[in-house]
């Protein structure tokens, strides 16, 4: 591992620095900017133009975008995700019957689809279509927030561990190992049982608890990726150049390390997002994730999955499950597409 003192020794040659400044970070080919000859002779080179790194990073994204937009899978998953996001934000847009998710008519319990309730009625005589539409919010919120939460924790700690190294790295890595050893579902059950929600808890507190539980267990995944990615980027010439030019570590991390090391994290987080949604459904199914009056697909599946109900009213189970599967599928497909575009080596 190289540290700053080593770096200074290495950066004896001005020419090397100049070369390094133009080195493409992720194998992206671009015409190298020509460096004026007088720059080479100048003992105190001008500050590294930020523009270059920024433009390279943008071009990475641009390149990914070009790869992705040519793939039908991307458009299918993007369309699905768009619909589900819209459903989560404005469920009322999708409900044409005017029924609220609270609406119930016990006399209609377990009845099949009719002209108003196109998915039929559940155990309480509530409209399954309306409940399924409104259930999207919980699942999407949990999925997106958990993916973000795990990514933030993982990226911050991973960068620190990878960049500073030494004792901090060891400490963080072993801590991550401890959390990594706890299976997501088992840990989720443990945490949700310890911090139970009551009927009076506000909606966002209930969701937040699930998000916290899953984030706390999901970050080691991101941490490991980020750490190794940072360690890969750190010895790069452009980082050395920045150091040699006297940029402070925060600036180096912010402008050079993170933009060049973040790609795998984006990929993994997108794929994990799908599995977080599935885990939330599982926790709710077990009766410890979200709880009524919160509406979620997991709760709906849990309520409808006794064998006698499946035999007599399979529609109660079918529709929430279908929506759950579609959402998870959409996010995982999107993750695959992003991975293919950003990390061609894994293709």
């Amino acid at each position: 591992m190289t540290d700053l003192t080593d770096m200074n020794k290495e950066s004896e040659s001005q020419a090397r620095i100049a070369d390094a400044m133009t080195a493409p970070s992720l194998g992206i080919e671009e015409p190298q900017p020509t460096i004026p000859a007088d720059a080479l002779e100048d003992p105190a080179p001008q500050p590294v133009p930020d523009l270059q790194t920024v433009s390279e990073e943008r071009s990475l994204m641009q390149d990914a975008w070009i790869t992705m937009r040519s793939r039908p899978l991307f458009w299918i998953s993007a369309a699905l995700i768009f619909v589900f996001l819209l459903m989560a934000a404005f469920p009322q847009l999708f409900v044409f019957s005017g029924r609220t998710p609270d609406w119930s008519d016990l006399d209609k319990a377990r009845m099949g689809p009719d002209s108003v309730a196109i998915f039929g009625y559940d155990l309480q005589g509530q409209d399954i279509y309306v409940r399924t539409i409104y259930g999207a919010r919980a699942s999407i919120l949990v999925g997106v927030c958990t993916a973000l939460g795990a990514a933030v924790i993982g990226v911050v700690l991973g960068t620190l561990g990878g960049f500073i190294g030494r004792f901090l790295d060891t400490l963080l890595s072993r801590t991550a190992d401890v959390f990594f050893a706890i299976p997501l579902l088992l840990g989720g059950i443990l945490i949700m049982y310890t911090f139970r929600t009551t009927a009076e808890s506000p909606y966002f507190v209930v969701v937040f608890k699930v998000v916290m539980a899953l984030s706390v267990l999901g970050w080691p995944n991101v941490y490991r990726l980020m750490r190794s990615s940072v360690m890969q980027v750190k010895p790069s010439e452009y980082v050395m150049a920045a150091k040699a030019l006297g940029a402070n570590p925060l600036r180096i991390i912010g402008s050079h390390i993170i933009p060049n090391a973040i790609a795998p994290v984006i990929v993994v987080s997108t794929i994990d997002l799908g599995s977080y949604i599935a885990t939330e459904a599982t926790l709710s199914y077990l009766g410890i994730g979200l709880q009524a009056p919160a509406i979620s697909w997991g709760i709906a599946i849990s309520d409808a999955s006794a064998i006698g109900y499946v035999r007599n009213a399979p529609h109660m189970l079918l529709f929430p499950s279908l929506f759950l599967s579609l959402t998870v599928l959409a996010f995982i497909m999107m993750g695959e597409v992003v991975r293919d575009a950003m990390d061609p080596k894994l293709r």
């Binding site: 119930s104 319990a109 377990r110 309480q124 509530q126 009551t198 009927a199 410890i288």
Partner: protein, 554 residues
């Protein structure tokens, strides 16, 4: 078998009928009448404790002990009326001093005769504090019971048997007169004592029980010896086997030679086994199988006759008003909430007929039941809304606390929805992870709103549904209900020697509950059971156990 045409099945069943043997179990437990010995298998579950009559208060062990023990009184499985069993007579001039005479010739499974001292010694042992028997409180009415309890530790405030040993070893209210006669004296008049004596805790214990020196009588409790129609021959982790007791001299002898209780962890599995004729009896049908009468379609013989049944049991479900919730103090509010409940709809749609709408606080299976004590139990949404607005409405979220492990969430949500629809109240269900958590919240009076209360009778008497739950300071008075007139009526009724007059006083007391609404009666419970094709008749008791002596095979 599936490929056989309907015509062939007709022929086959005709042939079976002609030969007088219609059993088609087709399983290894179908010993058949050819060998002479008949046997059946019943769904069992792991008993909580060793099988000791005074330490068993749950169904898993109770099912077995029901057949292994005989008591002074036998509850008729049809109407749960008490009939004398071992007792020749139980007489009392004043509802306080009782003389019990025993029938001669009753034998324990080890051959010794049932005598008066077997009762007195067993009861004294069960009531003795140091023995920590679960059912010891059943002996509370007997004089001298308090002297057998461990002293209360000053620091912890709880009974502590190591520091404060009980003062006496025998209750002063029990006296052996001769081998077949003993007397009982109760602390206060207890007119329905006879009805109580049929409970398993009052079973006599043989001399071998007292000879067992193992801690907690575990050796005896594995293979208990009773005076019942069946004796237990093996008891393992997977099954308990009972055999007919040859020397049984009572009126309720078994008809099947061998009964095996097979331990199931999951009632769904047991149900499926009964459907497939691999098990002969199950006392539970999963709630989801009741939908659209699915179970009635599953449980039919090939000739189309049903092999299922329903038995009204002595269980009532209520919702108790939390005593710490000031908004629920007004009678108008309580009546409104009760009237806004469409019990009919919930019992039909949520329970698929496994519950009956309640009209009072007492189960219809018991002696002294009279319908209609709860006038506010009639569904009337208009009047409910009026009363609700008169009471000023409920501010905030009204919660119904239930235990999440007992299948109570469904009805609680339905109740909430009805209140939302009929009264416009904001209502939510609060499900605790398990029963213990709910009980803790109730006992510490931490919960607001309403909470679930279920009551299974200990003995079939109207008194058992009133005194332990609604008398001032009673052990199960979760709503802290207190009413002087109510308490006085209960006292008067207990002292009344004429059972009919006593019941009238109890009914009058129940009407006071109708005025004060300490809780909302919801529904009476019934048990569903299923049996295999080889059983012709089976009866379930109002305690949800099977009456083995009434089983008849085809």
């Amino acid at each position: 078998m599936r490929a056989i045409t309907p015509a062939l099945i007709g022929v086959a069943s005709l042939a079976l009928l002609a030969s007088g043997c219609a059993s088609d179990g087709g399983t290894n437990n179908n010993g058949g009448e050819t060998g002479g010995a008949t046997e059946i298998s019943i769904r069992g579950c792991t008993p909580e404790n060793k099988l000791i009559a005074s330490n068993t208060n749950e169904v898993c062990g109770g099912n077995v002990l029901q057949a292994v023990t005989s008591k002074l009184v036998y509850y008729n499985p049809d109407n749960s009326a008490p009939e004398l069993d071992i007792a020749e007579s139980i007489e009392s001039p004043d509802a306080q001093n009782f003389t019990v005479k025993l029938k001669q010739g009753y034998k324990f499974h080890d051959g010794t005769e049932v005598k008066a001292k077997n009762f007195v010694d067993a009861w004294n042992w069960a009531a003795y504090g140091t023995n920590t028997q679960l059912a010891s409180s059943f002996f509370e009415p007997i004089e001298g019971y308090d002297k057998l309890q461990c002293g209360v530790d000053k620091e912890s405030g709880e009974a502590d048997c190591t520091k404060n040993k009980p003062e006496a070893e025998t209750m002063s209210g029990l006296k052996v007169v001769d081998d077949y006669t003993f007397t009982i004296k109760t602390t206060t008049p207890t007119s329905n004592l006879e009805v109580r004596l049929g409970y398993t805790a009052f079973a006599p214990q043989p001399d071998s029980f007292f000879a067992d020196t193992s801690q907690g009588k575990t050796e005896f409790g594995t293979l208990p010896v009773g005076a019942g129609p069946y004796k237990i021959v093996s008891n393992t982790a997977t099954e308990m086997v009972l055999e007919k007791f040859a020397d049984y001299s009572g009126a309720h002898a078994g008809s099947v030679d061998k009964v095996t209780f097979r331990i199931y962890n999951d009632m769904n599995t047991a149900y499926n086994d009964v459907v497939a004729n691999n098990l002969d009896l199950t006392d539970q049908v999963p709630a989801d199988q009741l939908v659209n009468d699915q179970w009635k379609n599953d449980l039919v013989n090939e000739d189309g006759t049903p092999r299922y049944g329903t038995k009204e049991t002595g269980v009532i479900q209520v919702m108790t008003f939390s005593p710490i919730d000031d908004q629920l103090k007004s009678i108008d509010m309580r009546d409104a909430l009760s009237m806004a409940l469409d019990r009919e709809q919930i019992t039909k749609q949520i329970f698929n007929g496994a519950r009956t709408p309640a009209t009072g606080w007492v189960s219809p299976v018991v002696d002294g039941y009279k319908a209609g004590a709860c006038t506010a139990c009639v569904f009337d949404p208009t009047k409910a809304k009026e009363l609700y607005e008169k009471a000023g409405g409920y501010k905030g979220t009204l919660t119904i606390a239930v235990n999440g492990d007992g299948g109570h969430k469904e009805w609680a949500e339905a109740v909430c929805n009805q209140w939302k629809n009929n009264l416009g109240v904001t209502c939510a269900v609060e499900a605790t992870p398990n029963f213990q958590t709910l009980r803790k919240g109730i006992n510490n009076r931490e919960l607001k709103g309403l909470y679930r209360g279920g009551w299974q009778m200990d003995y079939p008497s109207i008194e058992n549904f009133l005194t332990p739950i609604y008398s001032t300071g009673a052990s199960s008075n979760d709503g802290d209900f207190s009413d002087k007139k109510f308490d006085q009526l209960l006292k008067d009724a207990a002292a009344e020697t004429d059972l009919n007059k006593a019941n009238e006083l109890y009914q009058e007391a129940e009407r006071i509950l109708g005025e004060k609404m300490p809780s909302i009666p919801q529904w009476y419970q019934s048990s569903q059971y299923g049996y295999s094709s080889k059983i012709a008749e089976v009866k379930m008791t109002p305690f949800s156990t099977f009456d083995l002596s009434s089983i008849k095979l085809k």
